[in-house]
């Protein structure tokens, strides 16, 4: 079924355009990486604030308000450029286990980020009430960074694990 879908996608005029104009795929990948840069840096800076390693002079909710909302528009750009890349080279990802690993990790990262943002937005002191919550906040943020790292690694590995 995925093979049929890949063949069908590859035969569409849009896919044909993306395949034949040599500059489109590198351009899409560049935009994709730039969006990852903004998203990942936001997540890491948020995590470093939770660990009290950077920006200690800025209240946690303010850091969260600055960095966490930036993640969602970036995700939209990533889905758009990623979607176009799939249309251009469907077999590269749709028939690739690494791609599905990346998507699974992405769902986990989205849930963790949304949870963090929602909790801080509804109760600003939510993660700072006692030591247990502070620990939980650090743990959540660190796991989310690890998952984002996994996504970036998987993303690069798609190029090396394609079939045929």
């Amino acid at each position: 079924m995925l093979k049929d879908l890949s063949s069908w996608l590859a035969a569409t005029p849009l896919s044909h355009t993306i395949q034949t104009a040599g500059w489109i795929i590198p351009t899409l990948q560049t935009i994709h990486i730039l969006a990852v840069a903004v998203l990942f840096s936001s997540a890491v800076l948020m995590n470093l604030r939770l660990w009290r390693l950077l920006q200690r002079d800025v209240p946690l909710p303010e850091v969260a308000r600055r960095f966490l909302p930036a993640i969602w528009p970036m995700l939209l750009i990533l889905l758009l450029t990623g979607g176009l890349l799939i249309i251009g080279e469907p077999r590269r990802s749709l028939l690739n286990t690494t791609f599905y690993l990346k998507m699974t990790l992405l769902v986990v990262a989205i849930v963790l980020t949304a949870g963090l943002q929602w909790s801080l937005a509804s109760v600003p002191e939510f993660w700072e009430k006692d030591w247990l919550r502070r620990l939980a906040a650090r743990l959540t943020a660190t796991v989310s960074i690890a998952v984002w790292c996994g996504i970036i690694f998987a993303g690069r590995w798609i190029a090396y694990t394609q079939v045929g």
Binding site: P26, Q29, T30, A37, L39, S42, D57
Partner: protein
């Protein structure tokens, strides 16, 4: 120039370079670390650039933003140079012959120069205006130029992969 060529051939024929070139896992691994580090460099510098342009963090002073962000930038930059260096020695001659690689190095140099010039001239009287939402033109110019240069660095980096067959 002959000495540089010798150095390059020594690097290229080292056991380390050999391993990166021949091992199926090592090159993608180093490359992934490079992408990760570059993302942190570019993303964190963007926070400073947007402050200089008056588009983000306008309620915080410039030095408060740079203090909170630049340690990450520099840490990531070291990792990016280290991983980039490993990829470079694995195929040094081919990289040096690639226009996008040369352009990328020049652009990184330009970004560094932009920063040095801003510190030396533009930010001389930083303490007088660094709390302002709208900064003097040289500061805004340095921020905008920095964004442009780093976007081009990423673009050149991606284009290297499409114009050079490694491994």
């Amino acid at each position: 120039m002959l000495q540089l060529k010798d150095l390059i051939s020594v690097l290229e024929s080292s056991a380390l370079a050999d391993n990166i070139r021949e091992n199926d896992v090592l090159f993608p691994l180093v490359e992934s670390v490079h992408v990760l580090a570059i993302c942190l460099v570019v993303g964190s510098i963007l926070a400073v650039d947007l402050r200089l342009l008056g588009l983000a963090w306008i309620h915080r002073s410039v030095s408060s933003v740079t203090r909170g962000v630049l340690p990450l930038t520099w840490g990531a930059f070291v990792v990016a140079v280290g991983s980039g260096g490993l990829m470079f020695i694995s195929n040094a001659t081919k990289y040096l012959g690639n226009g996008f690689f040369v352009a990328k190095m020049v652009l990184i140099g330009a970004a560094g120069l932009n920063m040095v010039i801003f510190h030396a001239i533009g930010a001389k009287d930083l303490s007088r205006w660094e709390e302002d939402a709208r900064l003097p033109l040289p500061a805004r110019f340095a921020g905008g130029l920095s964004i442009l240069l780093w976007v081009l660095v990423v673009a050149c980096g991606r284009w290297i992969g499409f114009t050079m067959q490694v491994g």
